[in-house]
Structures are given as C-alpha cells and as structure tokens.
Symmetry: C2
C-alpha cells in the first residue's frame, strides 16, 4: 500500500484535510503500522484528485489558514475495496535497534542499559496511545482488532525486554571482565 491508498483509507472514514490525515499516521489508529509525512501526503492527494478518487473543496477560515477538505468519491471507495481484496505485500520491518543489539558487544553495557530503558519507555508510550483511542462503541470491528493486535505486540516486547535484559547486559559485563 502506498501513501495514496493510506489516504484513501483515512478518507473512507470521513472527510479530512492533508494536515489531519498526517495526524492519523502520527497519533491516530494507523500510527503503529504506517507512516507518512506532508511531503508524501500532499502529492498523494493531488494524484488522487487527478484520478477522480477524491474531491477537494477549499474552505476559508478566519483566524486560521484556509484548508482544503477532501472527500472520497464512489470510484475511490471502489479502488479501496479492490486494494483491500487484492494481493497484499508482505510486512516490512526495519529496526536499527535490533541491528544494534546484534552488535551489542561494540556498545558499553552502561549505554546499552540506557538504550533498553529508552526502548521500553517507547513501547509503553505506544501502548498508552493505543489504549487511549480504543473502546468507544462506534469503532469498526477490524480497526479495533488492529489496535488490540498492536497492544499485544508492544506488550510482548516490553515483557521480553524486562524479562531478559539482565541476561544480555550480564553476559557483556562478564566478557568485559574476562578481557
């Protein structure tokens, strides 16, 4: 799914602006498994407009910058339907943190410990975010399932890191003494 499809997905839940769509990927229900910045969202909305999948209407506001509210078209809904029912690309996951862990022997145990703390804090923040925007009755079942899936993964990560960090740091400290 490219940024175009992601925007279409957000717009299928209701009209929105480029700025608001961005927030969905930063804080909202999609934040834990997708990402997109202004530099990809605005061009995507333009292309979607050219293809007739969305329509944008300028809206004047006083005190605030004008904004352009986008709405999905019926052709847009069809395109989303096709994409969701078509073949899906495999997950892509890249983690500098795990890469660093592979070469943990190059990092001081103290620094490693700090980084693991930071990492756990990050997972906790994600968990809180995911717990926040859930639960309200009107949420579609699939969206809520994806949210709870995210909770499960982040919880498991925290549990693993808290349960096993000492083994890693311990092993590295011992190695350091041996040298």
């Amino acid at each position: 799914m490219d940024v175009k499809m992601l925007c279409l997905g957000v717009l299928s839940r209701g009209e929105s602006t480029g700025y608001e769509i961005r927030k969905q990927f930063e804080e909202g229900s999609f934040a834990h498994f997708q990402d997109a910045g202004y530099g990809s969202i605005y061009p995507a909305l333009k292309k979607l407009t050219d293809e007739g999948l969305v329509q944008g209407v300028d809206q004047r506001q006083d005190g605030r910058p004008d904004r352009k509210v986008y709405r999905i078209t019926s052709r847009g809904r069809q395109a989303l339907y096709d994409a969701v029912n078509g073949p899906l690309a495999e997950d892509k996951f890249r983690s500098d943190f795990l890469f660093m862990l592979c070469f943990a022997d190059l990092v001081s145990p103290r620094e490693l410990d700090r980084r693991i703390d930071e990492r756990i804090a990050h997972h906790r923040a994600m968990l809180e975010q995911l717990h926040c925007d859930g639960g309200c009755g009107g949420t579609p079942a699939g969206l809520d399932f994806a949210r709870r899936y995210g909770c499960a993964i982040h919880s498991a990560a925290i549990e693993f890191l808290e349960g096993h960090r000492h083994e890693l740091v311990g092993a590295l400290l011992q190695k350091q003494v041996a040298e």
Copy 2:
C-alpha cells in the same frame, strides 16, 4: 542503517560474498528485521570498497561462477562501531495486513479467515527459522538476544491471532446477517 551498514555488519562476522550476504537477509539471523536484494547489495559493496571499508578478492571456481569474497577492513570496523554507537533511527514498520484488517468490513468473512490462517502460518515459519539457527554455543550474546526477541514477537502475534480471530470474524458475520 542503510544497506551499506547492513553489509558491513554481516562482514564483521566473517568474510562473505554478495550472494551469501543476501541469504543472511532472506534466511539468516537478520531476516526478521532487515531486508535487502541484489540490486542494493552489489552497489553497496562497491561503494564500501571505494571508501576503503571493505576489500574484495576475486576467486575462481570451476564448475561454478567465479565469486568475489569481501573482507572488512579496520576502517570498516571503526565505521560499524561508530554507526552502532551513534544515534539510531526509529523502527519502521509497514503492514498491509494490518491495513487490510482496519477495513475488514470490505472483505468477506471467508476470505478474511483464510488470510488469518495464512498469516499464522507465516509467523510459524518465521519462528521455526529463528529457532533453527540459534542455540549453538559460539553465538554472540547480542545476536542471540535479537533472535529471541524475534521469537517473542512472532509468538505473541500467533497467540493474539489464535485467541481473538473468532471475535472479529464473528462480529463481521453478525453484521452481514443484520444487513
């Protein structure tokens, strides 16, 4: 970390060819959190050679195509050290599967069920792969930790999907009946 650093990481564990490095990202210890194809590995090795971080030696083989064996240099080791101790980019995770789940109401319950089966099978395959290449005594502590981290995450994903799939499919079936 770009593909250059990934190659440097693999080469820090011992000399290797482009072809073999690729396999590390497809089946080996890095497969669960990084990815790279020939089209990015070969150019990366060339650039690393130009920068003096690796050295490549041509090796003739009979019956098989000649190959070029790369070895990390001391400057290469320093560069890896710097990268691992420097600031790390945040994890990047994009999942078409989770995106599809968000719009599960657009997919038939039957098809959804099939896709969840497939997904669970995929996680099981990853788990098996991760269990395989682990455990041998000589593995550095960090590499093994990253491997077990992967096991924890994939296990949690399986557990969640098996434990909650019926709620999702059930909700969608009910909705279908209601219409």
